[in-house]
Amino acid sequence: MAANNMGVEKVNYKNKLKDKDEDIYILALESSCDETAASVNKNGLEILSNVVSSQVDLHKKFGGVVPEIASRKHLELLLPVIDQALAEAGIEFKDLDAVASTYGPGLVGGLLVTLTAAKTVSLALNIPLIGVNHIAGHIYANFIANPEIEKPLICLTISGGHTDLLYFEDLRGYQILGRTIDDAAGEAFDKISRFLGLGYPGGPAIEKAALSGNKTAIYFPRADLGDSYDFSFSGLKTAVMNYVNNEEQRGNEIDQNDLAASFQEAVVDSLASNLIKAVQEYKVESVVISGGVAANQRLREVIAERLKEHNLELYYPPLELCTDNAAMIGAVAYYQYLERDFAPLSLSAEPSLKL
């Protein structure tokens, strides 16, 4: 994988490395934010088990993920989720061909839990260690859900930590067309949700409020970054805050739902416009959205509508693969295995890893 070239490690693994025509079983682990997850994949896209233990309720009262609390919980949940993933897959440690973990981006304390666990499995069983980029995982979640997806394709991947527009010739590599220059889209949702007192996580909270609001009530400006495919959301965030402060100073009552709907519409419009611009320039067969924000129904609706005139279908992963999970990490790991893209035991967590 182009963006994750760790080099081939000089180690004599227990067994001969397998080729594409043999069955390959990978244990994948993920703990980059507030889900502790483990899965066993067969040949990449066949998911034998996918166990996710969410801590979201634990962090709700703080209005966001508290890194130290998350790290403590990951350590507690580590063995139970691994056990369950192996049991549901009907697999034992000795059957594994490789072990994978997310190594970034994310919260360093959390990342280190499953990364250390994966390194230990690699050492103990003498099987390759594969370090996976979490963002790539979100993209490959689509290929698990839709194995028939046609290439080349454009992918918009959006979450609390990133906003990237990518071009895929095939599943082995990608080209980055644009990314956010400041806040990620999901980060904007979280910040505005907290500002409005709508709670955490911000995406679903805003989306819920927006359902009862008028999306054209307030017009918020969309960032204009000229010819580039980049995104920007910090100006929008400031515009919303200024609007609320001004209205409050004038003693006007604010309709939270209208505000949420108008804000959401501005985010969705920015994302969709850049995506459509890319679709027009690159001749693609499919369009994919991924990441936590891809769960937003309004975003899916707007993009699907605008793709109609290009006769293109929009793919997105099913809800259970939209949130953080380990099956998607295992899917990426399989392609890295085929490329012999293995990591040394000295692999560090990279909290701000990019695609």
């Binding site: 009262k61 703080f62 508290v66 130290e68 609390i69 790290s71 403590r72 350590l75 507690e76 580590l78 063995l79 139970p80 691994i82 056990d83 440690f93 360093v108 304390g109 280190l112 839990v113 990364l115 250390t116 666990a117 390194k119 230990t120 499995v121 690699s122 050492l123 103990a124 069983l125 040394p344 035991l345 000295s346 692999l347 560090s348 967590a349």
Partner: protein, 237 residues
Amino acid sequence: MLILGIDTSTDILGLALMDSGQLKGEYNLSLKRQHSEKLLPLIEEIFELLGVEAGDLDGIAVAVGPGSFTGLRIGITTAKVLGRIFSIPVKGISTLEIMAAGAEGEYILPLLDARRKRVYYSFYQRNGNKDNNFLKEVKKAASAGISELPQILNEYQNQEISIIGEKTAEVRELLVENNFKTRIFEAEKNLPRAAVLARLGGDYICSGQADDIYQLKPAYLKIPQAEINWQQKYGSK
């Protein structure tokens, strides 16, 4: 019985292999914040140097702090996973106990710097009984201001107290001013040594005192700051 000792609780990365009371090898490396990058490569290296395989292990001893939370989770995760894969016992041992067990004397005060003129401490009495080699924890691990220590230890003023670990010079000076009898140790003894951890782990495991790997966690001694802030604002629960 082959025991691997793993200590990532402080700046020192400690690794030791103890085979039925015989030390096969030991690392005590002052690596500061490199435990994540260095731990597994060093385990691989010590195995290779000593001709051991992970599957040969009969038990794991791991330091559970007090110490750096992130560091502790690295060592404990490694111990849990090795314990799980090979179905071998794992024993978590206080970093303070490791230091105390490596020191001489009847009354031992191990210390770790908790910053801002505070220390993590516990207070041990060495058991004279030959059949029971373990230290008795007279005062449980806690944090305290350095200036509070004479008061905390006042009933032991007539005993000689062995001070080991961090902040020893400062604490010794204060205790001597308060008419305590103390002793301190040379540099090579003044740290949690991996060999002591592995030996203690072996002793505990042999006496049937292994931990449940599913419950094993660091001795945090402090709830997360976000929780403290929340409780101050809203009360507990």
